[in-house]
Amino acid sequence: MKTLIIVSHPEFQDSITQAFLKTSQAELNDVTWHCLDEIYGSDPIDVQAERELLNGADRIIFQFPLYWYSAPASLKIWEDDVLSRAYTYANEEGHLKDKEVGIVTSVGYPKSAFAAGASQSFSISQIMIPYEALAKQAGMKFMKPLVIAQFGYSTDEEKSQLLVDYQMYLTAKYPFSFNERETWMIHQLKKLASGSMKNHQQELDLIIQELETGQDDLNDLKEQINLIRNKEED
């Protein structure tokens, strides 16, 4: 699966959040980091080149800080230039049909502020409706947004968890069921065992074995529970 991250951030050089995310994805295979402000600045967008990138991706991520409940201007300009009606609409040329689209957005308030009655009044799901509508029109699968709240105040532990959540958001099979998270983690450990942690391969292999056994056990138990439930319903 190929993932394209379209970053929109007018101050991308100074953003500690974007620097963290860029480093977090650097070692992943089949992931392309594509920062609009860095590539184009105030130059016109190369529509053909952008469409070629989109056509080659299975998962497209729009990544931006939330500015006035929307993306910064560079993403809106990109949308208006690249996503013409014929190219995008599922019932016309439909080049984006069946691809997945995700949102990674950073916000300056705690997540709890985005709710009815809280300081921001609206949920992230409500604020992201224009992207969900776009996805629907294009025949794309809309992924639950990944929200990064007040990154500057994050502890090391929170950053560590964000790194894993972000890598998973980019590369794991969606939706992220527990079984899928187990499979994804086993895959990452195998990569470590044959790559940067090769000197700990034996220990990693044993951990992988334990995870795989736990996954099999859990799947067996779920199957048994389903059998019992079905019998109870008979």
């Binding site: 950053k159 790194l163 450990l189 700990h200 951990i207 334990e210 779920k222 529970i225």
Partner: protein, 59 residues
């Protein structure tokens, strides 16, 4: 915590200590959370099977 779970967590913690890369440490910490969640779900599922198998309605 079962012996297996405890052993796995200890192994992961030893590996975390050995790593200087933040990416590697984060993945191992993610693995630790997953092992704990997996064990919890296994326990809950076993308890559910016990509960359903011993339903007094079936006596």
């Amino acid at each position: 915590m079962s012996d297996n779970e405890e052993w796995t967590i200890n192994q992961i913690n030893e590996l975390i200590k050995s790593q200087t890369s933040f990416i590697n440490r984060s993945l191992l910490e993610g693995c630790e959370r997953l092992v704990k969640e997996q064990a919890k779900r296994n326990d809950q599922s076993e308890n559910e099977i016990d509960g359903r198998s011993w339903s007094p309605e079936k006596w």
